[in-house]
């Protein structure tokens, strides 16, 4: 069988259920693939792993992939299982923030590592300075959890609909205590988890064929997961080597993830791509229109 290694952007969780389902249900095997899934983490830049030869395909967000491409990394989007964005900013109501106009003078926490790009873009659009000057917001780099919000070190924090938001709820707060701003609703959503590979792989027809089979099986996994969320969550749990995930949390996460993958057959939506590029360029993260950052070559092959 052909070997394929997939580098995830984050630790094993329902966010990546489709791949684990495809593996567990033998979808990859059916396509003649031997797939290895490498979990990620806060200190892993999947691009480095990809370029270093440690993986054939990686999961990444489009903004950071574009930034990497402009830095000279020859990476290309070959599929986009996530149709919509799960990114949002969550504030405690008690701080008196009800709309984006209320941000000035407050402290916003965000993850960095590429995840700050949408926030900076948004602030830029709102015309709110982030450099600590008068009438601006203070931005803090926070670790990948919601403690700073709960402990009031920040007043708003970046969260995902499927993960951190529920951690806030689990901590004992009710949706009434919170104000959330979904990037999707603010019209500044960017494309999240997509599949990427390198240019030279795409130049080789044999590789393209292999990738097509991979994407095909993965999408089959995603659709299976959407239909059987609880089973998918259990498969994820089985594959979690840290033994740290809980069933309750993963099942709920799978439910939210299903909303984001719904409506994608795996092929990148060029309109959503253009929107993302626009937002990222407005944010100043990239300076020139990217070229060849995506292809339908693989999905065309996979979906027919």
């Amino acid at each position: 069988a052909d070997e394929v290694t997939l580098q995830l952007k984050w630790v094993t969780q329902a966010q990546f259920a489709g791949y684990y389902v495809a593996l567990d249900k033998g979808f990859y095997e059916e396509e003649g693939l031997d797939v290895t899934i490498k979990p990620g983490g806060p200190d892993i830049a999947p691009v480095q792993v990809l370029l270093g030869g440690g993986a054939d395909v990686m999961v990444d967000w489009l903004p950071s992939a574009l930034a990497a491409r402009e830095k000279g990394a020859p990476i290309v989007n070959i599929a986009q299982p996530f149709a919509s964005s799960g990114l949002m900013l969550t504030c405690l109501k008690e701080h008196g923030i009800t709309s984006p106009e209320d941000f000035p003078g407050h402290t916003l926490g965000t993850w960095f590592f590429g995840n700050e790009i949408p926030l900076y873009t948004w602030m830029g659009k709102l015309g709110i300075p982030t450099d600590g000057s008068e009438g601006g917001v203070t931005i803090q780099k926070i670790n990948f959890n919601v403690d700073p919000l709960l402990q009031k070190q920040v007043e708003c924090a970046t969260t995902m609909t499927y993960n951190e938001y529920w951690q806030v709820i689990d901590a004992g707060l009710t949706p009434d205590d919170l104000v959330v701003f979904k990037y999707e609703d603010e019209g500044i959503s960017t494309l999240e988890d997509g599949l990427y590979t390198t240019e030279d792989k795409l130049a080789d027809p044999a590789e393209v064929d292999k990738l097509a089979r991979f994407v095909k099986a993965s999408m089959k996994g995603w659709k299976y997961a959407e239909e059987n969320p609880d089973e998918a969550a259990d498969i994820v749990l089985e594959n979690d080597e840290t033994g740290a995930q809980t069933e309750k949390h993963q099942r709920r996460m799978m439910g939210e993830i299903a909303k984001l993958t719904a409506g994608s057959n795996g092929a990148l939506d060029p309109a959503a791509y253009e929107r993302t590029v626009g937002i990222v360029m407005d944010g100043g993260v990239i300076t020139k229109e990217p070229e060849g950052a995506w292809t339908h070559a693989v999905t065309d092959k996979a979906l027919n």
């Binding site: 995830l8 792993v49 440690g54 990948f144 959890n145 689990d170 004992g172 080597e241 740290a244 949390h249």
Partner: protein, 287 residues
């Protein structure tokens, strides 16, 4: 040994008292918040009870950690991914390998520095510089590069572990190997002892106190290295992965239990070195 029991218990008891107190202090804000939202007043008793039993406390109470430790060690099969013993073993194996590599490298470099002029003059500044590179920043790169050349599993972690642990050994051993007095070196000279004889019969024995002290520090450092090395391997298994996963989900109790486990590992290892030190120095008539 038995003489130590009472003092240790006293100190531990003192720590527990402080700990419980700190738990009340640090977790009170959240308890008040919660009560505020529910619209109730907390009596002191209720406050204490709440701060010692929160799900995601800022500082978990000792018994919460103890329960978690019990659940994840005794109650789970050691082959289970939820067993802390399994994760400890994963980390420990990398630690021990890294420590062994680090000690060998450290002693080797120290010997080079003491015996070779070129090395003495050129290596030390760069060894020092190497230690100022934040390992967490380059650990992923190391892992990636090693992965690319086909090395994965235990070794990359052990290498990061070695990277942190060789330094205390170099510093200590350079000093230790240079600690023999002028007269002792002169004696060796009069017997026209070869460099290796001077090393085995004089420099090495005189450096023993330094070696053991350095090894204790190195052991603690290698454990840190192994944990650091676990983070960019994708948080797969090991105490580092537990810490990380605990941190993403705000599971402070899980973090603390992994932390205490790691500390216990380090303490046991350091104590082991201490025991070897006592026996060796006693046999050498130096204790």
């Amino acid at each position: 040994m038995t003489r130590s029991i009472l003092p240790i218990l006293t100190v531990v008891a003192a720590i527990f008292v402080l700990w419980y107190g700190a738990a009340v202090w640090l977790n009170a804000a959240w308890a008040h918040d919660k009560a505020g939202r529910a619209g109730v007043e907390l009596s002191f008793g209720e406050l204490v009870a709440d701060t010692w039993s929160q799900d995601k406390p800022k500082l978990p109470a000792p018994h919460q950690v103890a329960v978690e430790l019990w659940d994840t060690t005794v109650e789970k099969k050691i082959t289970s991914k939820r067993s802390l013993i399994y994760h400890s073993w994963v980390t420990l194996s990398a630690t021990l390998l890294g420590f062994a590599l680090g000690t060998v490298l450290g002693v080797g470099l120290a010997i080079g520095i003491v015996y070779n002029r070129v090395m003495d003059m050129s290596v030390m500044p760069w060894v020092i510089a190497s230690q100022t590179i934040p390992i967490l920043a380059i650990a992923p790169m190391i892992i990636v590069v090693l992965n690319a050349v086909g090395i994965s599993g235990l070794l990359p972690k052990a290498i990061i572990s070695m990277y942190l642990s060789f330094f205390p050994v170099v510093v200590g051993m350079v000093k230790g190997l240079r600690s023999p007095g002028v007269m002792q070196l002169d004696q060796m000279k009069t017997w026209n002892a070869s460099a290796s004889q001077t090393f085995w019969k004089l420099r090495l024995p005189s450096s023993m106190p330094y070696l053991f002290t350095s090894m204790k520090v190195a052991m603690a450092a290698s454990l840190v290295g192994a944990i650091v090395g676990e983070l960019p391997t994708g948080a797969v298994a090991g105490l580092g992965a537990r810490l990380l996963a605990g941190s993403y989900y705000g599971q402070t109790i899980q973090i603390w239990s992994a932390l205490l486990m790691a500390a216990a590992l380090a303490a046991v290892m350091v104590a082991l070195i201490g025991a070897i030190q006592r026996v060796t120095l006693k046999r050498m008539g130096m204790a």
